[in-house]
Symmetry: C2
Subunit: 194 residues, 2 copies
């Protein structure tokens, strides 16, 4: 059994689709990180910070924590605070490639294992009408980089990706299953799956 330590409804949905057996635990973690960290280091650091913040005994369960960040031009795009910030972020992503990193930390038997997955996302040039329509209709204030690839702006705006699609949604499932089987072969199929 896996314990998903995440408040993200998208992560929960993806894990459900994967067929892995899991429960969800919500807990708050302050998402700051040392300024010296870069890209994948940030995603891994934050996933580990979340895992270390889990205070209950795990027993025979595997704890799974994740963090997804959006990077462009060596800067990290966080969740937008308001319309103007969301508009600025999407204008920045428009017509360009950006990177999405998800860091994953697993904990089992007091041992922590971390890895990350990287996906390149290519937006077409977005018009101001498209950006405004999306922000007004979808309120992407809970999303790093101000967009969800599985929402309208992703459907009509993303021309190409290189890498795992589900990584952009917040959980690289194929990689996760691979690492679970790799780290915990004794818990392998069919035990991991419902």
């Amino acid at each position: 059994m896996i314990i998903l330590g995440s408040k993200s409804p998208r992560r929960k949905q993806l894990l459900q689709e994967s067929g892995l057996a899991f429960t969800v635990e919500h807990f708050d973690v302050e998402e700051s990180y040392p300024e010296s960290l870069q890209k994948e280091e940030i995603a891994i650091y934050l996933s580990r910070k979340k895992a270390k913040a889990y205070a209950k005994p795990l027993g025979d369960a595997i704890l799974l924590c994740a963090d997804t960040i959006v990077c462009i031009d060596d800067s990290v795009l966080n969740k937008p605070a308001d319309f103007d910030e969301a508009y600025a972020m999407l204008s920045h992503l428009s017509g360009r490639m950006h990177e999405v990193y998800t860091g994953i930390t697993l904990c089992y038997n007091n041992e922590y294992k971390s890895f990350y997955e990287r996906t390149e996302v290519y937006f077409k040039p977005l018009t101001s009408i498209e950006i405004e329509r999306y922000i007004i209709q979808n309120s992407p204030y809970d999303k790093a980089g101000a967009y969800g690839i599985q929402e309208w702006i992703g459907y009509i705006g993303v021309e190409k990706i290189i890498g795992c699609y589900y990584n952009v949604m917040g959980m690289p499932l194929s990689r996760l299953v691979k690492e679970l089987l790799n780290f915990y072969p004794d818990k392998a199929l069919p035990n991991l799956f419902t």
Copy 2:
């Protein structure tokens, strides 16, 4: 207004997500093609054949027909007839890259315009347990190549794609919107969208 000439529930769902204004018309087309055709030529040929089979007057509407094919090793994978064929196709795709082509034909004012989109899909090595589980649970007999990327085998089995994700599902939305605006600028936003 667009008329989607397709029986595919996935195409209908994708168009709905795109916000394009459309209605759906079902009609049967025999999906054979000349043996001399290759890859994208097949997808375009079949999308055009579907468009030409539409018998009603279009009026001011744009007809949209599409065909998606799965190619590996210069062969085309069709819809599997039974469990054994589905098993053979997924075994063939396992641990390899294959190509997905969607051909699109638009018809407006008696003029036909066609284009295609190509996506590379990389499956991890699939186990026989995974292939069997998927076929039994999902019955992918209506899907070229015996899989849907938005189904379980796609979640846990696809490591990477290069190109448009929605193209693999059967409708490259970003490209479609681009070509609609390109071919029919007078029908552009906001008229195309609901």
